[in-house]
């Protein structure tokens, strides 16, 4: 059958089971948009292409499917760049389809021409410039395969205008893909797996470091069986949250810069670290010279380039975590590590007492109280999407998760502005689930125009703006390490409630813990999108994220929460 390039795009998206595309049309991609309705694929019209990238990313992280973003050439494509870089460093599967100028004009600095395959080379898993409509179907199929297989990531397909217009005989491709150099390894090397099992069986003080790989490989149940059999406590990276139930007796919580001190201490004093689908980011190791000095280390990762990249390990295993755990489970002995677990409980010690939530309320509202109000009222069952900064860490610390794919956050790139558009993507992926975007006043203002998208798409996203009138995390560093000079971090903000209402979003304001609880309850009862501006403590002890490993310090060398005498 004769099809234009534009039609082939949708033919192939349908074959990849794509239900929704996030994007903005423009001169060089409108031809591709034109036949969309004939194919029944939903399009979410965003207000900025960066948001389209984040929405596709959020959709992917919640659904486990490939997110799709579409944009025109030039500025449309360059606006996608932050979304692509965010997805790349967090291994989120995404396909971006961009328009390009006519092939005869490529390289001539034509109107809205950007060499987007060149620009995105280092931030895509792979990218394509399609110059022949005959290759379009195979290219799109390959793009989806590459995006979701192995270590997932963003793939960009650049489509010149004439390729979109050209007609060809479309034969749905059925034969195998021709990728002679692309073979993600699934099973772990048997000898290495057996050496890992020996280390587990010999260890007295093991700790599992579970990362996002647990979620991506669908290894949550196997991980639970493994640690229950071996009685190994589990710590999570930020992106690993949800990979192991935090209510489980073996769950220690989040590790790293803003993890609890006893968790980091357990890592530092362990004799075996089992790093499962994580990559030893500098935010989780502290300074490397003193990182877990007595521990032997096993690292399982799908991407061999991650093995021995940051931390030299004793047993590096390339493979899909689920397959490797299947291999490992029968080789490990049931163990009793009561003494080790008691030791960790002992270290946990006064953590509870230091917790701000266990202090008497004093009328001031703090970030942890905001997250806690949402946590309690949603029973920990909501999908929480964060922006980047203090509120992100409070969300990670105070929104405990028992299920995978319920926390969406920009971990690796730390992209401010991610929260609202990613929450839109998350809500599209899970229309029947409550979605909360927890954002700060700084990051929210980078993409708040997406309130219009939420209204236009009738998406009941709940938005919690933790407003402290500062770029809070930077301000906290200035308070702690720069002598309290708040250089360029104070924000003169708009009235967020009025702003929300201008978009047609119902707004609330809360300035103390009781108002916060009421506002959360009312926002939850409201059917449409809702925004609550929480006026939280601006600075000082109650305005900071604790505990904290200062930059360049050892993991166990933490700034703890100050202990207050009971008032």
């Amino acid at each position: 059958m004769r099809r234009t390039g534009a039609q082939i795009v949708w033919e192939m998206l349908k074959r990849e089971d794509v239900e929704v595309v996030f994007g903005i049309p423009g001169g060089a991609i409108m031809h591709t948009y034109h036949p969309r309705q004939d194919y029944g694929v939903h399009h979410v019209l965003m207000r900025h292409e960066q948001a389209a990238g984040h929405a596709a990313d959020g959709y992917a992280r919640v659904s486990g499917r490939v997110g799709v973003a579409m944009a025109t050439s030039g500025p449309g494509a360059t606006n996608l760049v932050t979304g692509i870089a965010t997805a790349a460093i967090d291994s989120s599967p995404m396909v971006c389809i961009t328009g390009q100028v006519h092939t005869s004009l490529i390289g001539s600095d034509a109107f809205q021409e950007t060499d987007i395959t060149g620009v995105t080379l280092p931030i895509t898993k792979h990218n394509y410039l399609v110059t022949d409509v005959g290759e379009l179907a195979d290219t799109i199929r390959e793009a989806f395969y590459v995006a979701r297989s192995g270590r997932p990531g963003p793939v960009l397909v650049d489509l010149p205008k004439d390729v979109q217009i050209a007609e060809t005989d479309f034969v749905p491709p059925t034969d195998g893909l021709e990728l002679p150099g692309y073979h993600p390894q699934e099973r772990g090397d048997a000898e290495l797996v057996s050496r890992a099992a020996d280390l587990v069986n010999e260890a007295e003080h093991p700790v599992v470091l579970a990362g996002q790989g647990v979620l991506m490989s669908g290894a949550t149940d196997l991980l639970r069986r493994f640690v229950e059999k071996t009685q190994t406590p589990v710590t999570l990276t930020l992106l690993g949250k949800g990979g192991f139930p935090e209510s489980h007796p073996l769950a220690l919580g989040m590790m790293g810069m803003h993890g609890e001190a006893f968790v980091n201490r357990a890592i530092q004093e362990a004799d075996l670290l089992l790093a499962f689908g994580m990559r030893f980011d500098d935010r989780v190791t502290g300074t490397l010279e003193t990182y877990a000095p007595d521990a032997r280390k096993v690292h399982v990762d799908l991407d061999p380039a991650e093995l021995n990249k940051i931390v030299e390990v004793d047993v590096p295993i390339e493979g899909d975590l689920r397959r490797v755990l299947e291999q490992l489970l029968p080789l490990v002995d049931p163990a009793d590590r009561q003494l080790w677990l008691e030791q960790i409980e002992d270290w946990r010690g006064e953590t509870e007492r230091r917790d701000v939530l266990n202090r008497a309320e004093n009328g001031r509202l703090t970030g942890p109280q905001v997250v806690d109000a949402i946590y309690r009222q949603t029973g920990g069952e909501a999908i929480v999407v964060t922006d980047v900064g203090q509120h992100q860490m409070w969300a990670a610390q105070y929104y405990s998760l028992d299920h995978p794919r319920r926390l969406v956050t920009s971990g690796g790139l730390g992209t401010m502005g991610f929260g609202l558009p990613a929450a839109i993507g998350a809500q599209v992926a899970a229309p029947d689930r409550e979605v909360w975007a927890v954002v700060g006043d700084g990051g929210f203002q980078m993409t708040l125009h997406e309130l219009a998208t939420a209204i236009q798409e009738d998406l009941p996203v709940r938005i919690a703006v933790c407003n402290n009138g500062y770029l809070g995390m930077v301000r906290q560093w200035q308070e702690m390490f720069y002598g309290g000079r708040y250089e360029s971090t104070q924000l003169l903000n708009p009235d967020f409630v009025k702003l929300a209402e201008a978009y047609g979003v119902r707004g609330w304001r809360a300035g103390d813990p009781e108002e916060a609880r009421v506002a959360v309850a009312e926002a939850r009862a409201h059917p449409g999108p809702a925004l609550i501006e929480f006026q939280v403590v601006q600075e000082g002890e109650e305005g900071n994220v604790y505990p904290m490993v200062p930059a360049g310090a050892a993991l166990h060398d933490m700034i703890r929460r100050p202990v207050k005498q009971a008032a």
Binding site: T117, L129, G181, P304, K309
Partner: protein, 157 residues
């Protein structure tokens, strides 16, 4: 010490750019990179010489494999192999020195490929050491211009 890698890559647009971009992105130090066709249509072959002191070759190999178009990578440094560089050297040669230069060229089993009024152009193939040696002895005659291809390598047998 430098290490020699051979990479087989799909002959697709931009593949050289992908490899070069990777080296820049990961701050790998390379000495030379050559690329050309192989006996197999659609497959190109790169010889990459890595500064083994400053760059972890294993990491280079692992990162090359992350590129979808890279088919196979081998570190051939420790293998029995043939490694060759080709150089064209334009060297000063007046009536008085011409025969001396020709003698040196012959000793190094190089060839004169062009003769000018004041210069000779010499083509030499061999290991990097051999070419360095020739350049050194030609230096006193005045090397006006030189170009080297960078190393190509193949394992023996």
């Amino acid at each position: 010490m430098d290490r020699t890698l051979v990479a087989w890559v799909e002959d697709k647009p931009g593949v050289l750019n992908r490899v070069a971009s990777l080296f820049r992105q990961r701050a790998f130090n390379i000495e030379s990179l050559t690329v050309g066709h192989t006996q197999e249509p659609g497959v190109s072959r790169m010889t990459i010489v890595v500064d083994g002191e400053r760059t972890d070759t294993e990491k280079v190999v692992q990162n090359l494999y992350k590129l979808v178009n890279v088919i196979k990578v081998e570190d051939v440094t420790e293998e029995p192999n043939v490694m060759r560089d080709l150089a064209l050297i334009k060297v000063g040669a007046s009536n008085g020195t011409r025969s001396e230069v020709m003698q040196i060229v012959e000793t190094f089993r190089a060839r004169v490929v062009d003769v000018g009024l004041e210069t000779l152009t010499v083509e030499v193939t061999g290991t990097a050491e051999k070419i360095n040696g020739l350049v050194e002895v030609l230096q006193p005659f005045g090397v006006a211009e030189m170009v080297r291809t960078g190393r190509v390598a193949m394992t023996r047998g």
